[in-house]
Every structure is written in C-alpha cells, then in structure tokens.
Symmetry: C2
Subunit: 257 residues, 2 copies
Amino acid sequence: MKTEEEVEDFILNGHKHYLRHITIDCAIIGYHDQQLKILLVKWKHLNGWGLPGGFIMNEETLNEAANRILMEKTSLSDLFLQQFYTFGDSFFRLSKKDWDKDQRLLIPIPEDNWLLERTISIGYYAVVDFEKVSISPDIFYDEYQWCDIQSIPELLFDHNEMVEKAIQTIRLQIYHQPIGYNLLSEKFTLPEIHVLYETILGKQLDRRNFPKKLMSLGILKKLDEQRSIGPHRSPFLYEFDKENYEKALMEGIALAF
Amino acid sequence: MKTEEEVEDFILNGHKHYLRHITIDCAIIGYHDQQLKILLVKWKHLNGWGLPGGFIMNEETLNEAANRILMEKTSLSDLFLQQFYTFGDSFFRLSKKDWDKDQRLLIPIPEDNWLLERTISIGYYAVVDFEKVSISPDIFYDEYQWCDIQSIPELLFDHNEMVEKAIQTIRLQIYHQPIGYNLLSEKFTLPEIHVLYETILGKQLDRRNFPKKLMSLGILKKLDEQRSIGPHRSPFLYEFDKENYEKALMEGIALAF
DNA sequence: AATTTATTGCGTAAAATTTACAGAATCAAA
DNA sequence: TTTGATTCTGTAAATTTTACGCAATAAATT
C-alpha cells in the first residue's frame, strides 16, 4: 500500500476486501538485555500512540491475518503469535472530524465510510528480540517506538487495557506453554534462556535450580557444542527438541518458579 | 422476537442494529450429579446441532451482549461468564441454498443478506447447574439437548473446536480462578464443592486433602450452620467470602491438585 | 606455565509441601 | 441403644522445592 491510488482504493473500497467492524491488534513485546518493551506506533491522523494493527481480509483465517499484519508492521514472520483476548468496548475508533483535521491524509472521507464504524479488536501477542526487528512504515503510521513496559503513556482507544492484558497473559502462559522458540537463536545457552525467563517474569530465578526444572520438561536438547564467551568457562549450547516442543505446545506444560 | 413482522425485520434490517460479521457463541457447560454436559441447540434451517449464539447490538459491550444472549437462550443471568477465544476460520455460516430449502422459514432471503456473510465468533463459556436451567426457544432454534461431554456429535461450523477449547480452558482456569460461585447454592458444604471440582477436572481428589487446599486460598468462610442430610453426620455450610473472592478473580489464585 | 577472574555446571542437605491413610465424631433411623 | 453411612481432623511418609557450596572451565594476565 504505497501509491496514492492504492490508498484511495483502500479507503473507498476496502470494505469489499476486508471484514468490517473487526481488526487485529498486536501487542509485540520486545525483550533485550534484561528489559521488556512494547512496540508502539503513532497514528498519522489521530496524533496518538497505539498498537499496530490491521483488518482481516475476506479469505484469510485469523492467524493468517495476524501473521500478515505483523509481517507488514515489523517485517517478522513465523513468530510465536498467540491470540489472547477480544476487545470490543471502545465504541469509536476513528471520527470524521479527526480524519478531516489531518492534512496529511490524501482524500476526504465520506460520512458513512467503513473505517469510521465501531470495531471489535482481536488481540494477539508476540514476544521478540527487539534488536532484531525492523519496522516498515504504513499509511496509517509514521513513527514507532519501543516503550518501556513500566512507563507506557496514555494510548488510543482501549490499547492500554490491551497491553496490560497481554503482559498478564504472557506471565501466566509462561507457566503453561513453552516460550522462547522465536526469542532465542536456534542454539542458545542455559544462561541465555535463564535471563529471558527472569525478564518476562520480572523476578530472579535461582541460577542452579532453573536448568533442572527446564530440562525436566524434556523439550530441550543439549548439544555437543559450546559457545565461546571470552575469558570464561564456555557454556554448552542447547536447542529445542522440535517434536517435544510441538507436543508441549498442544498439551501444555506445568512449571513452578 | 416472536411475531412474523419482527422476524422479517430482523432478517432484512438486522444489520442496522447488530454488528455484521460477528457473533457470540456460548459453550454452556452443565454440571449435575457428577456429570458434565454441554447445551446444544438445533438450528431450524440447517438441520444440525450447534452452540447457542447471537449477534452483538451496536451499542452494547461484548460482555453485555454475551449476557443478553445467554439470558435469551437459557433464562439465566449473572453467571460466571468468561470469554475464552475468538474463532474465525469457518468461512460460511449460512448459505442461501440451506435457507431456501427450509420450509419453516418465513420469507425468502436476498442473495446479499447480512446473515449470509462470513462470521467471526467470540466464544464465551459458563458453567451452570443444568437442573436449574430452563431453555426458551428462539426463531433460529427449535430443539435443545444437554449432551454428554464424552459423546458430542458432529456440530455445525467450527463448534466442535469451540467446545473442545472451552473445556480445555475451564480445566486450565480452575487452577487459576475461583470457580463455583454460580454453580453452588449460596451456602454449600465441602463435599458439594468437592464433587464439583472432581467433575470438572474429571479425576478424583483426595477427600481429606481437598478442604485444606481450598481453605488455604482464603476465599471460603465457614458458617456456624449445618445442613441436615438424613441419617448421617451433618456437614457444615460454607459461603464464598465476597471480598476475597472478587480479589482472587482479579489477581488469580494458584492451586495444585 | 602458573595465576587470576569471572562464569558455568553439578550435587546435596535442609525446608517446605504434597500425598496417603486411619480413626474419631456425628446424625437419624431402626 | 445400636447401626450404617458420612463428615472431619491429625499425622507420618514421600516427594518436591529451595538454598547454597564448590569444582570445572576458559582465556587473559603475570
């Protein structure tokens, strides 16, 4: 969606290709260097920050739509993308007034345009290493930021509620679903996955007990290689046991920290 | 929605009052006498069984809509109603062919009618004592049944998947959220809540250890009354400590069985 | 080549929790 | 008063979790 014609077509005829009333919004949690951040984008015409999102095309499934939208906004694919809740209590998303106010928008919008209707938003989350993400702008967004989880500003619509629920869900899910597949390199060390869990849970986990619990799940395979980390003992590399990982995704796991 | 005029108006003009594309479906899990059942309804025009559901009105929130729909279908209100997942991979809900085939329907349906569009369905579940529920029919449904969880027939759309996910969610949530407020009488005995948990989890819980764990949550209050149960020792009555129960709902609990 | 420094990796004792189970108390009907 | 079925409490054993000391290792420095 780059040319003027495409944008105009999206505004006037988008409702033929996308489902009205429904959006998908993504709470993309970024993790790096013991910090948790969330990806916020600035809406061109509303002059406020919110979560990246988009509409669902007529012929794609919800997961396909979520993956496509995430791909468009972050250039990332094949992420650990999880639906977590559907929000529908924010009755007005865009108003004609806000739209008309903004000079950057290309065409005036008809009063009964589909983009001005109430929307229900399906929330998805992903956890990514924010050092590896590159954001590509979109007609609706012109800026983005990785915002510290602790100090989130007031967001548009009900996006504050969505962020809160996303983080809450992740912290709960970490006990029941194997998390980490897309956050770490294919091969990683125990200390690496250790700080990942510490960061997400926001608390310290005993360095010596953590490997025992994690290994007892049977989803990790110890490799015969080590990583060189300078003048220190070389930690062994691990990778996820694909088969058991998939099984654990389906059936759930039980962890206690 | 009883008179012919009302039905016709719903079909032709419903899209002005309800959100297109979106429905709420309810997996109503019924519990009684150590059995788990699910409420199924038969769709008039599709000749198949599915979950009761309905559309969202323009000016009501999702929870309001879910409660209204549940009220309409079961005459129950103020239930422990929880959103659990949103489904959108079943592309066709109704077809004009199916509609036209059914003689009981009152009017022919236009090809581009809103009821024939793809729908996204927000799933809610409730757990109720099925002995206390009375079902009131609707234009779309003419029969209902309480179906044993173990032997669910093939359902319409993606409702089999919804039922499966609902039960899975309930079993997971029972460890993290206090369940029981709407299932038991206001005052209940330990054995009563004990079999409730056993039924939902589908396994036996030690009769002597169960009370210890449950009481340690601090959401139950022992009363100074007893229930008379015939020629046996009278069990004490308990009730939920409203304040702590609400707190536990918000913050979650941790149980291990 | 030995020493130093920072980190990984393992084992084990102590503490806490969970599980298993026995027996006393209670109620109402016979 | 006896009987039968059920509630309720306590406690020892088993298991799990937690805490933590120390050996092993890697490379840079002496």
